[in-house]
């Protein structure tokens, strides 16, 4: 089962608890798409949560793809030096293809 976690709007410190609540692994997924295509702003609070979630997924052997729609979010990741830490996509189809390829391996 491919799981899609969709968050939108502004992902920032004021929503920290809600974001942490949304990002969790149930264990029966074959891959997870983090759909941030409608996120308009993000801060490093989210990056710390993403890093923890990514590490948890890696331990579980779970591929993750991140869909990003805003330039601000993409540049935040670049400025933090994390551009190569995640599988990031700007097109949903490409993200889904990546997950499909990962789950076949």
């Amino acid at each position: 089962m491919l799981k899609v976690i969709k968050l939108s709007g502004e992902l920032e410190i004021g929503r920290k608890d809600a974001i942490e609540h949304e990002l969790h692994i149930e264990g029966n997924e074959r891959g997870i798409l983090l759909d941030f295509g409608e996120v308009t702003y993000a801060d490093s609070t989210v990056l710390a949560i993403l890093l923890r979630f990514h590490a948890e997924a890696r331990r579980a052997g779970m591929p993750i793809a991140i869909l990003i729609g805003s330039r601000q979010f993409a540049r935040l990741i670049e400025y933090a030096g994390l551009a190569h830490a995640f599988s990031i996509f700007t097109e949903r189809a490409a993200a889904l293809t990546h997950l499909a390829n990962q789950t076949r391996q």
Binding site: D43, A48, Q72, G81
Partner: protein, 134 residues
């Protein structure tokens, strides 16, 4: 006159205050004609500075004030100070953290931190004005 434009905000440093403070800075940048791409980066840095205060400056049970002061300088530069009266925590020293200051330093032309009697983070940005609105 852009050179005389400034913004001052004072709020209680709760996490919920970061968003409206950031939005006030966004309105200031738009009103003064700062280009959208530049404004995005400045707002990212301001958001990091505010998040750092909200998360680390005070005991969450009894937060005090956070102040923001933005003003234009010569040569199309914008100085933004974020000031609190709490205790400075250098996030770089904590494993897996420290992105906030790293991001601020990647965006701002100059960054300085004064920890005398609270913490004052000063950021200076190149902020060319696309159109003179004020």
């Amino acid at each position: 006159m852009i050179g005389q434009s400034e913004l001052r905000i004072n709020c209680v440093a709760r996490a919920a205050a970061a968003r409206p403070m950031r939005h006030a800075v966004a309105c200031f940048l738009a009103a003064t004609g700062v280009a959208a791409d530049t404004a995005d980066d400045i707002l990212t840095a301001v958001g990091e500075a505010l998040a750092n205060v909200m998360e680390h400056a005070y005991d969450p049970a009894c937060p005090s004030d956070v102040e923001l002061h933005a003003r234009f300088q010569e040569h199309a530069r914008l100085a933004i100070d974020v000031f609190d009266r709490g205790q400075f925590v250098r996030r770089d020293a904590r494993p897996g953290r420290g992105f906030g200051l790293r991001i601020v330093r990647a965006i701002a032309r100059e960054v300085s931190i004064d920890t005398h009697d609270g913490t004052r983070l000063r950021m200076v940005f190149d902020a060319p004005v696309a159109q003179a609105v004020l």
